[in-house]
């Protein structure tokens, strides 16, 4: 059973390399995208931290800014 699935009637090398290539591309793109996202989240958080009290208050009044901060380090 296992051998049959691996050999695929002699087409195993082709089938498995096609599927592996697909899955490896997925993983690579996922992690690259995730890295870019978390970099941008950190950049935002550090800039937010450097704001003075007044500006931070103004920035917090926008929903989206609060969302960004609360989601940092999530996914």
């Amino acid at each position: 059973m296992i051998n049959e699935i691996i050999s695929m009637n002699g087409y195993g090398a082709y089938v498995w390399s096609a599927f592996s290539f697909t899955l490896i591309s997925f993983t690579a793109l996922y992690f690259v995208t995730k890295l870019q996202l978390s970099k941008e989240q950190k950049r935002f958080a550090s800039k937010f931290g450097s704001l003075n009290v007044e500006k931070a208050k103004a920035a917090r009044s926008q929903n989206i800014n609060r969302e960004i901060l609360s989601n940092t380090s999530n996914i």
Partner: protein, 236 residues
């Protein structure tokens, strides 16, 4: 009408959605892979080599679909001067490009055992390669131009010029003699040339790939929105 899709309003959803989409994607992909590699039958002629279809065909479909959306969104962003359309298009492009590459590579791997060659300069394969070049140009243009007005114009133009190629890809197998076989599935008719037992894994894999595109899109779109908001902090 467009104001309901303003980034400020939908970020609450787009920022939380990725983890659920990732979860759903992994489940659907696991079912799809089991169907494609183990449960589905072999082909009467191609034997087990037919299984490559389950990654090759969905990848090709989605890369064509995403490029068409890029063109449509580009028309929208250019005509209505709507920057959000441009951001959506920019965020869709990476997964479309990856699927284009997957379609080319798995097609090559499929070609060797069935046709007897890794590569043929036939109309379908060549036009698909041209699409990959347009994807490449599109993605590079976003990185090259810094001026916001200019980058939107250049990328929109690339997407709109490139979309002329999409119907050529679709109909290449009907218009010219190609090594590539004609389409098996016609959206306008109910009878397909693929047996139902093989349509199941094809459908599930297509759903899984679409979910992957959605996942990458959401993450990319969030990244772009945070970039915009980061600049907004300067203006306070």
């Amino acid at each position: 009408m467009f104001k309901y899709f303003e980034p400020n309003k939908i970020f609450a959803i787009t920022s939380k959605a990725p983890k659920y989409v990732l979860f759903l994607f992994i489940i659907v992909l696991t079912i799809g892979l089991t169907e494609a590699l183990i449960l589905s039958p072999e082909d009467y002629k191609q034997s087990d080599a037919v299984r490559i279809m389950y990654v090759h065909v969905p990848a090709a479909w989605i890369s064509l679909g995403i490029f068409s959306s890029l063109a449509l969104l580009s028309v929208g962003s250019f005509v209505f001067k709507n920057k959000n359309f441009a951001l959506i298009a920019k965020s869709l492009a990476p997964s479309g490009f990856i699927f284009n590459i997957i379609a080319l590579v798995t097609g090559s791997i499929w070609g060797k055992p069935t046709w007897g060659t890794w590569w043929a300069w036939d109309a379908r394969i060549t036009s698909m390669l041209i699409l990959a070049l347009f994807y490449g140009m599109y993605l590079l243009a976003w990185r090259i131009y810094d001026n916001k007005e200019q980058v939107i114009k250049v990328t929109s133009l690339i997407a709109i010029l490139g979309v002329v190629n999409v119907p050529i890809i679709k109909f290449s197998v009907d218009w010219w003699n190609t090594l590539h076989q004609p389409a098996s599935i016609n959206i306008l008719s109910t009878n397909t040339a693929i047996h139902p037992s093989m349509l199941v894994p094809l459908g599930i894999m297509t759903a899984a790939f679409a979910l992957f595109s959605l996942l990458i899109f959401l993450m990319k779109y969030n990244t772009e929105l945070i970039k915009v908001k980061n600049k907004g902090l300067d203006r306070l």
